[in-house]
Amino acid sequence: MAFSMTPVWRWFHRWTSPPNFYRIARPWALGLMLVGGVALLVAWIWGLVFAPEDYLQGNSYRIIFVHVPSASASLAMYLSMAILAVISLVWKIKLADMVLRQCIPVGLTLTALALISGAIWGRPTWGVYWIWDARLTSMLVQLFLFIGMWAIHTAIEQQKLADKATAILVLVGFVNLPIIKWSVDWWNTMHQPATIRITGETTMVWEMLAPLLLSMAATYCVVAALVLYRTRWEILYRERKTRWVQDELGLRGQA
């Protein structure tokens, strides 16, 4: 490819080299974690203490400041993983594989968190912990998809093969996700559930919306920081046989 000769490409290659990324990811991870952590704290206090009660759902709606950010972040995570999968398969950037690998547990956690918070929220709203509501059901399928990625990466021993197989599966899942969402929505309307949507379309008052938006932004920061931290670990693990990692872990002085 002619593109592989351009300075931009060479710069990109150097920038994504594991030792370099390991180095530059640290301040970013730290910064994002701090900003995200503080913002999340502010958003939560705002949402828990100062935001008014919902006239329909009472105080249980305050779960929204966890549920919606984690659900939205889990979707965003899926989108970024699909992009990473393309980068991995087309341009064969090692770093993309490492980030992708560590996105899996984070995405899995976010999806699980959205599901659990949704279920707990369901109890005061619907009177039961679980309703086969369209959003919860799609979320559940998304959890299955994340579990699948994790399972195949664990099952294949050769690192490189595991990476590529996972990337393929991510893309297949990504193409399927809108189809799944659409079909679940259709299924849901057909069975006409007698429910209030926990996150309804009703317009929210500003006092609720503001902390919600802040908590979403904060969650994105924390999630990005977590992925960076985990990627740093993945780099250490995969490059453990190299000199620079052993220096990094303080192993070379000892012998």
């Binding site: 779960i63 966890v66 968190l113």
Partner: protein, 58 residues
């Protein structure tokens, strides 16, 4: 304080306290879990590498 009349009101959240607080508790626990898990993995890697080093297999 804030929207609530008293601190105990805030904790009770109009009988929804259990639900709200458990969700927030689980969230905090999850974030901490990721962080602690990573530290643990890293420590395990270092000890494993030290063992390899001692045996001269590095």
């Amino acid at each position: 304080m804030g929207y609530f009349d008293s601190f105990s009101d805030f904790i009770r959240m109009g009988n929804h306290g259990v639900f709200v607080w458990s969700v927030y508790g689980i969230t905090v626990f999850t974030i901490l879990g990721h962080w602690l898990g990573l530290r643990l993995q890293k420590r395990r890697l270092v000890t494993e590498m030290q063992r390899l080093k001692k045996r001269g297999q590095l």
